[in-house]
């Protein structure tokens, strides 16, 4: 009896609201993920925060050292430089990869067969591990036996890893080579989700390909761009493997980005306290930048791009 009454009540509800409640399930759905997040992200984060006020070389028990690590870190020129380098590499990553992956993604969203084959080729770097990619480029860029020795008109003596600009350039290039396919994949999916009626309408109004791209595709990709940029920012700030293999932070400290500096402090210098402090700085910087991207792009308002359809 009650069920029938409830259905009767439901029928009288405005249609829009019942749709909302159907697409927004209860909190229980998020519970498994939340538990894992707390176990593997929040708990370690708290432990790292505790360790950042300790002095610990891995032997015996950590000793409380107050703000020592933080004071050391704020007076450490390498730390400040490493943050700038992290931001520089991240910005370079976004600036280089975003336009390429949007263009490639939109292009690959077509359904012709040659595109499928070609996009499969473009996605190959995505299948390789970062380590394999780094080893590969390290060998290709060897000054005596790699590409530079054959093209000295372009590379000079091939000392790419011997100057800051060269080493940073290589890191940005290898990062782009490795991750552009991933972002292309996201954009391909998003571009395919753009309702075809929009293009049909534009065509009727006489808009060419370029206009369609700027007035339909790009605005429709807005949320995807934000997602992709956030992924690039987080990925860029935590870049590690390429630096470890390609430059080892050198020459000198010229490519010692924060994540690598943290590794050096923890597992080369066995100064886990300072390393934890660096980790926290990275968490804060990444969070602030991600939030800024979300805010500035209006992503937090979650306005659907399919509104009005």
């Amino acid at each position: 009896m009650t069920t029938i009454a409830a259905t009767a009540v439901d029928r009288r509800r405005p249609a829009g609201r019942s749709v909302t409640s159907a697409t927004r399930p209860g909190f229980a759905w998020a519970l498994p993920a939340t538990v894992f997040f707390v176990l593997f992200a929040i708990v370690p984060l708290v432990l790292v925060a505790v360790l950042s006020v300790m002095s610990w070389d891995g032997i015996g028990s950590p000793q409380f050292s107050g703000t020592d690590n933080w004071v050391k870190l704020f007076h450490d020129p390498v730390m400040i430089k490493s943050l700038w380098l992290s931001v520089l590499l991240t910005v370079l990553g976004v600036v280089v990869q975003t336009p390429i992956s949007i263009l490639l993604g939109v292009w690959a969203a077509g359904h012709q067969r040659n595109r499928a084959v070609l996009s499969a080729v473009y996605f190959v770097p995505l299948l390789l591990s970062a380590t394999a990619v780094s080893v590969l480029w390290r060998a290709l860029l060897d000054p005596n036996f790699g590409v530079p020795s054959e093209a000295s008109w372009l590379f000079g003596d091939g000392n790419l890893f011997g100057s800051q600009s060269g080493a940073v350039g290589v890191l940005a290039f290898v990062g782009a080579w490795q991750f552009t396919p991933f972002h292309t994949l996201i954009y391909q999916g998003a571009a395919r989700a753009v309702p075809p009626v929009l293009y049909q309408a534009a065509q009727i109004d006489g808009a060419g390909t370029v206009r369609q791209f700027f007035h339909i595709t790009l605005p429709q990709l807005r949320n995807t761009i934000v997602t992709s940029v956030i992924l690039m920012v987080v990925g860029g700030l935590t870049t590690f493997d390429t630096v470890l293999i390609l430059t080892q932070g050198g020459p000198g400290t010229d490519t010692t980005i924060s994540a690598y500096y943290m590794y050096q402090k923890a597992f080369k210098g066995f100064d886990f306290g300072v390393a934890s402090a660096i980790a926290l700085v990275l968490v804060v910087v990444a969070t602030v930048i991600s939030l800024a991207v979300v805010r500035l792009s209006g992503y937090d308002r979650m306005r659907s791009t399919s509104e009005g359809l």
């Binding site: 070389d57 011997g162 020459p251 000198g252 066995f270």
Partner: protein, 434 residues
């Protein structure tokens, strides 16, 4: 509503199961690692040499009541893993190390057993090893390690054919090296291959030149905490000579982009693009692996040139003296450990090491050297080590681990011109010494 309630129950249930699983997994893990009462755990660096260690452990287990268990950790993870387990219940009884600074923090933390009592009961534990090697695991007058594996002195390797073509002979003195550099440059090859991207190969040039110019005293003083040693006349002279060598184009201009670890600088030497390479004795096995023909017929080797007027002994060596077994104080079976350590100077051990290309540092090594991969090379190396008045452990191993990164950076920056002598001295003075 009802469906939601059900869902949350299911979710909560599955979480509880998962948590339970995780907890039991942890529980059983720590239980098994605490170790039985009649076993000793031997922790070693995991690589090709494990063949010999496995063999020695098998030999030991045949006669011993207390059984030895060999735990290997892949090389790259070894130091980190050791540091994390050494003060826990899971700590091994015996572990592999590099002597010097690599065990100093453990000694300071009171974790290691001084071996002097064992040596008193069995003097061969000390007297059967070459003294210059044995002494690099002596800290504050007490022995903390027994040599195992092979010695790794740094030598000046060369490509015989390149040298002959350029009319250069193996340099005996620093001045001969400088003129060899000029001749090789004129001949159109990079005079000296250097894997500057790895940084530690660059450090070898500092280690030798400082030792030749100032003698071992300077570094000992600096390591002991006397930072003024770095600013002395000898230090400045050595730095000036290094600068002169770099400026003369001895290493070419792209050494920062070349690595040893990926085979770059050894390939320069093997393919005749460079005349010399300063490298540890493992250069031979590296070349044998990558360019066997070159290793067999064209790879030459000599000791580091002497420096006229230098205070150092021309026979002194730098490098890694050897690897060592150290013992934890809390081992429950010190007698069994003592028996195990005795195997490190046995004939079987020496033969097995030579067979895989290592040069063990027992006094009787020469008796078996004919069975080595390259007897001439092994004999040359053995004589070098035997006659060396001092054997300076690589600076980055002698210093505490916190120093290695800034030391490597300073060394690289001095060579590529980002740092001048004064800045280098300051960087060395800033290194932690304890």
């Amino acid at each position: 509503m009802k469906r939601q309630a059900q869902l949350s129950r299911v979710a909560a249930g599955s979480v509880a199961v998962l948590l339970g699983l995780a907890l039991t997994a942890c529980g059983s893990g720590s239980g098994s690692a605490s170790g039985g009462g009649d076993k000793i755990h031997i922790l070693v660096y995991g690589d090709a040499s494990n063949k010999v260690e496995t063999q020695i452990v098998d030999t030991f287990n045949k006669t011993s009541k207390v059984k030895a268990v060999l735990d290997t950790v892949p090389g790259a993870d070894y130091q980190g893993k050791l540091q994390t387990v050494i003060s826990t219940k899971q700590a091994p009884d015996v572990f592999f190390n590099w002597g010097g600074g690599s065990i100093a923090p453990f000694v300071k933390a009171g974790l290691l057993l001084p071996l002097d009592d064992m040596i008193q009961q069995d003097p061969a534990l000390k007297s059967d090893f070459l003294p210059s090697v044995f002494n690099s695991a002596v800290i504050d007058g007490k022995a903390y390690g027994i040599p195992m594996r092979g010695t790794q002195p740094v030598m000046l390797f060369n490509n015989k054919k390149v040298l002959a073509d350029a009319g250069v002979s193996e340099p005996k003195t620093w001045d001969e090296l400088l003129s060899a550099v000029q001749a090789l440059k004129a001949h159109g090859v990079t005079p000296i291959a250097l894997g500057g991207g790895d940084q530690w190969p660059t450090l070898m040039w500092f280690e030798y030149l400082f030792d030749r110019v100032a003698g071992p005293g300077l570094f000992e003083k600096a390591l002991g905490g006397d930072k003024s040693a770095w600013a002395g006349e000898d230090s400045k002279k050595a730095l000036g000579m290094l600068k002169q060598l770099v400026d003369a184009g001895a290493f070419g201009t792209n050494f920062d982009s070349v690595k040893y670890t990926d085979g770059g600088s050894p390939a320069l030497l093997a393919r005749g693009k460079a005349g010399f390479e300063l490298m540890g004795s493992w250069e031979y096995s590296t070349q044998q692996d990558a360019s066997p023909d070159f290793a067999k017929s064209e790879l030459g080797y000599s000791s580091f040139p002497t420096v006229t007027g230098g205070k150092g002994d021309p026979g002194a060596l730098v490098g890694n003296t050897n690897n060592f077994y150290s013992v934890l104080k809390k081992t429950k079976h010190p007698e069994a450990v003592a028996e195990f350590l005795k195997l490190q100077y046995s004939d079987d051990f020496v033969k097995a090491q030579l067979a895989i290309g290592n040069l063990p540092t027992t006094t009787n090594t020469l008796d078996f050297v004919a069975a080595a991969a390259n007897p001439d090379y092994s004999k040359f190396q053995f004589d070098l080590v035997k006659q060396a008045s001092t054997f300076q452990l690589s600076w980055d191993q002698a210093y505490p681990q916190t120093a290695s990164t800034p030391m490597h950076q300073a060394v690289q920056q001095f060579f590529n011109g980002q740092m001048d002598a004064d800045a280098f001295i300051k960087a060395m003075q800033a290194l932690p010494t304890s």
